[in-house]
């Protein structure tokens, strides 16, 4: 050594340790904070449970697409929909499976589909959260705004031809077709005309000042705090008019997370009381082994499919447009097995293009049988013989090699794609999986239909047959149809469905449409993923009636019904103490290690 540093060494060790300790201190600091803040909702609930239910906050995590806006006409994320369901009244509410309506703002209604009129009587006691009465002109205004070009609700109201308000408690709608009773009463949020007419609704995204109209609602809850992209707090509406739907908690917080994992860890840490229904199969055993957590498994309103590019004017491979090839592919894919692998057995395989549990799902259609030899003979018979590399070729010599595009943000679909790839290799069809962002998928599909196949999903409100519109020719121009399916019989039947004048007729037509899809195979439906949610013991009275379960963002009853669990004892977060100890040990170990190194080096030098 060129330099001898006996004295300098001590100083350096001191400073070095000081920095280590400072860093460790930040970690340790959490502990002191933890005793006061971690799990505060749970602790406050425990006290509230015995004292008064009126002073409790239910915090639920959300890991889906984060909240975009609470403008009822321009929102797109389903969590916004969930919040709006409880902050605004609709004329009626759909029941759990979407098959019928129960009154909310309307006390009764009289719908005559054959002459296209509906008379709706409003609840005379109904008030907005600012105490002003809700009357028929607010309903008219809300329906008119819903029909504007910027509105995402327009497909629920486009069949309405006229709205009249003979008195403050009656609204009369004139409409065409048979869809009105299915979709129009339960999907339009009623908001106060007097406040909203002052803002430009199409570009109104609000929540900057407490005077914003968005803070005045007509539902059991009202938005009391809104932090963009992070959380929304709902409080009870002081003027709520339906005693039968009185909430049991004083406020609800919906907190956004960027991943299922971070949401789940927040539940484990006690910072939230429930998770949205996007937990993963790997988390199920963890919930089951934790006595303070409850698991909720339900059907989702989503279905996943393998889409074929059958667009006759698209740039996809012509062999995919050949029905025989699609039939062979269908025969060679074991949908049940794909489903089992992708979701560890928690998903439900599907034969048709509706989420499981939907009232429009045609249960007469059965899964296409898994039959590899049938697939091979179909291909042999049509002249798709084996070429080099153990790959089949079209009669004019193009190999049956396709790329499947999958959204990289849907891990289970990537698993499904991996299984499909292996299954199709058995019949001489080669698959390349390209997992890309949904925006890249969008750019591959819609400008020119250049893909071969895609794996994607549709999420849909239950009991709404207009989901079938994605296979019509107009869906190609609106960038909805990823298959590019264009079948004149289908288009005709679909417009009949829109204009049908009885509910029964709609169901019949929907079955016929599904049969066409089943045979023509623009999609091979795969499965409905499960909705997996968990909630803590601190709350009770959570029902899983609705499609999607209590935390699937489709229901309006969870926040109303949830109540603190009176028998839930106060838990101590023993973890905090452990954390303290572990942090202390870690700091000691680091300092000891540093000291050891110093002593060793000194010994060597001395």
């Amino acid at each position: 050594m060129a330099f001898e540093g006996k004295i300098g060494r001590k100083t350096m060790v001191l400073v070095f340790s000081a920095i280590i300790i400072t860093t460790g201190y930040f970690a340790l600091f959490g502990t002191t904070g933890g005793q006061y803040y971690i799990g505060s909702p749970a602790v406050s609930t425990a006290e509230a449970g015995t004292a008064s239910a009126n002073n409790s906050t239910f915090t639920v995590g959300w890991s889906g697409t984060s909240l975009d806006t609470l403008n009822p006409y321009t929102f797109t994320s389903s969590v916004s929909d969930w919040i709006l369901l409880d902050t605004y009244s609709t004329l009626a509410l759909y029941n759990a499976n979407g098959s019928g309506l129960i009154p909310e703002l309307a006390t009764s209604w009289n719908i005559n589909v054959s002459n296209g009129t509906a008379v709706v009587h409003l609840n005379p006691n109904a008030k907005f959260s600012n105490g002003q009465p809700i009357n028929s002109s607010d309903v008219e205004y809300s329906y008119q705004m819903a029909d504007c070009c910027f509105s995402g609700l327009s497909s629920y109201v486009c069949m309405i031809t006229n709205i009249s308000t003979p008195n403050p408690e009656t609204v009369i709608f004139n409409f065409t077709g048979g869809l009105f009773p299915l979709v129009s009463l339960d999907n339009v949020f009623i908001l106060p005309e007097s406040l909203w007419q002052n803002v430009n609704v199409s570009s109104y995204f609000g929540f900057n000042a407490s005077a914003d109209p968005s803070f005045v609602g007509s539902g059991p809850f009202v938005v009391s705090k809104y932090v963009q992209g992070q959380y929304v707090q709902l409080s009870r509406n002081p003027y709520w008019y339906l005693p039968s739907m009185e909430p049991h908690v004083s406020s609800v917080i919906i907190q956004c997370f960027n991943s299922e994992s971070s949401m789940f860890s927040a539940l484990q840490a006690g910072t939230i009381d429930a998770t949205s229904a996007f937990l993963l199969p790997s988390q199920i055993p963890v919930v089951q082994n934790d006595s303070s957590l409850h698991l909720v498994l339900s059907n989702s309103f989503t279905y996943c499919y393998l889409g074929f590019n059958v667009n006759p004017s698209g740039a996809g491979p012509s062999s995919i447009r050949n029905l025989t090839v699609r039939q062979a592919i269908t025969d060679a894919i074991n949908v049940s097995y794909v489903t089992k692998v992708a979701w560890d057995g928690y998903a439900t395989p599907l034969a048709t293009n509706f989420p499981v549990g939907d009232s429009f799902l045609d249960s007469a259609l059965k899964l296409h049988p898994y039959n590899v030899s049938e697939a091979n003979s179909l291909l042999n018979a049509s002249g798709f013989s084996y070429g080099p590399n153990n790959l089949r070729e079209t009669p004019n010599g193009t190999a049956l090699a396709y790329t499947v595009i999958v959204p990289s943000s849907f891990p289970a679909l990537i698993s499904a794609a991996t299984v499909i790839k292996q299954e199709l290799s058995q019949i001489g069809i080669s698959i390349t999986i390209s997992s890309i962002s949904t925006s890249t998928m969008d750019s591959i599909i819609w400008p020119g239909y250049t893909q071969s196949m895609d794996l994607w999903d549709w999420a849909w409100t239950p009991g709404d047959p207009t989901l079938l519109c994605v296979f019509t020719d107009t869906a190609i121009t609106t960038c909805l149809s990823d298959s590019g399916f264009n079948n004149s019989e289908y288009n005709t039947l679909y417009s009949e469905l829109i204009n049908a004048n009885s509910t029964q007729q709609i169901y019949n037509l929907s079955d016929q449409l599904q049969a066409i899809l089943y045979n023509q195979l623009p999609y091979l439906p795969l499965y409905s993923p499960p909705n997996i949610a968990a909630y803590s013991n601190a709350f009770t009275n959570i029902s899983s009636n609705f499609a999607g379960g209590p935390f699937g963002a489709m229901d309006w009853e969870t926040f109303i019904q949830v109540e603190p669990n009176a028998s839930f004892g106060k838990t101590t977060h023993s973890g905090s103490t452990l954390y303290y100890i572990a942090g202390g040990i870690a700091a000691v170990v680091v300092i000891a290690a540093v000291a050891a190194i110093v002593i060793r080096s000194r010994r060597k030098e001395d």
């Binding site: 050594m1 350096m12 806006t69 070009c149 960027n258 925006s439 591959i444 973890g575 905090s576 030098e605």
Partner: protein, 320 residues
């Protein structure tokens, strides 16, 4: 004379910074224009989307105008600090990004300071005992942390935190809380991750820098003349070795930003890196452009600042 050169040096640096900023702004426009996909159809992938609605959204976001017009509009707005309306959140991008930037700084400033200090002290320590076992041990530890993937280390901390229980692993505050204790407890793991991953490079830099200085003739001479070695180290060697560190730290700020994206993503920290990650998923051009500009501006300005400090403290630079 020296002052004159110094101010012209500074003027040159400022001019270059302005040029860089203009390049970044223009480049930024085209970069995000080439992103694939139509943000509107993607955002509204729903059978409910009508052609009317699609058109009205395009008008609202100015997507119906020709590219060159969008570009001019963009430059004008950017100079006014207006980066448009977020496609996804539908509010002004600036109003979203400013709080995000603050959140990022809350995490990044302490992380940078702690890791630089830790790096300097371990580096001095290591250089002082060059080639001893201490040196090898310190250097190896630094390299090992430096080699750690940020997101992986974050994942390990999450794993441990959940195993131990009671440690927040996501977000900046508990909902509704604004207490400093709450902030610190949420900050613990992301901060620890950043410090551990980044102190290593400063150790190595400091060690190299100090070793250079220690081999300079004047130090060797001073030592040969029998001066107190500790005094040599602290009054001559360390201050001189710190000089190159200034510009190295500035250059590495870009790297810290990268680390911030990964750490913010892993720990859901509502900072600018997290915004970038989210905006990519939503194909939110205005948000991406705004975030990218703010991040690059910060790094460019930090570099300018470092150059100025360097110019002030190191007389040699004035004559270059």
């Amino acid at each position: 004379m020296a002052t004159l050169t110094f101010s012209s040096y500074i003027a040159k640096r400022i001019a270059l910074t302005v040029v860089s900023i203009f390049i970044i702004i223009s480049f930024n426009f085209f970069l995000f224009r080439v992103l694939p996909g139509n943000p509107i159809t993607l955002l509204y992938r729903s059978p409910r989307l009508t052609l009317n609605q699609e058109k009205s959204l395009a008008i609202q976001f100015g997507l119906n105008k020709p590219e060159w017009e969008q570009y001019l509009l963009y430059i004008r707005n950017a100079l006014e600090g207006n980066f448009g309306i977020s496609f996804y959140y539908k509010v002004s991008v600036t109003s979203e990004l400013i709080p995000a930037l603050e959140n990022s700084l809350v995490l990044l400033i302490p992380a940078t300071i702690i890791s630089v200090l830790l790096g300097i002290f371990t580096g001095v320590f290591s250089a002082w005992r060059e080639n001893s076992k201490t040196d090898v041990a310190v250097l190896q530890t630094a390299m090992a942390f430096y080699a750690m993937p940020t997101f992986w280390l974050g994942g390990i901390f999450i794993l441990l935190a959940i195993y131990i229980g009671g440690i927040p692993v996501a977000g900046e505050y508990s909902v509704g809380s604004t207490s400093i204790l709450n902030l610190l407890e949420h900050m613990a793991l992301p901060l620890l991750t950043l410090v551990l991953v980044y102190y290593g490079q400063f150790t190595i830099m400091m060690r190299n820098s100090l070793r250079d200085v220690l081999s300079e003739d004047y130090i060797v001479t001073a030592y040969a003349k029998g001066a107190d070695s500790r005094r040599i180290l602290y009054t001559h060697a360390v201050p001189n070795a710190m000089l190159p560190m200034i510009s190295l730290i500035a250059i590495n700020l870009g790297l810290m930003v990268t680390g911030a994206i990964l750490v913010e993503t892993v720990f859901s920290w509502p900072g600018i890196g997290y915004m970038i990650y989210e905006a990519i998923g939503h194909l939110d051009y205005p948000m991406l452009q705004g975030a990218f500009i703010i991040v690059t501006f910060s790094v460019v300005l930090a570099n300018l600042l470092a150059d100025m400090i360097y110019g002030m403290v190191d007389p040699r630079i004035r004559y270059k």
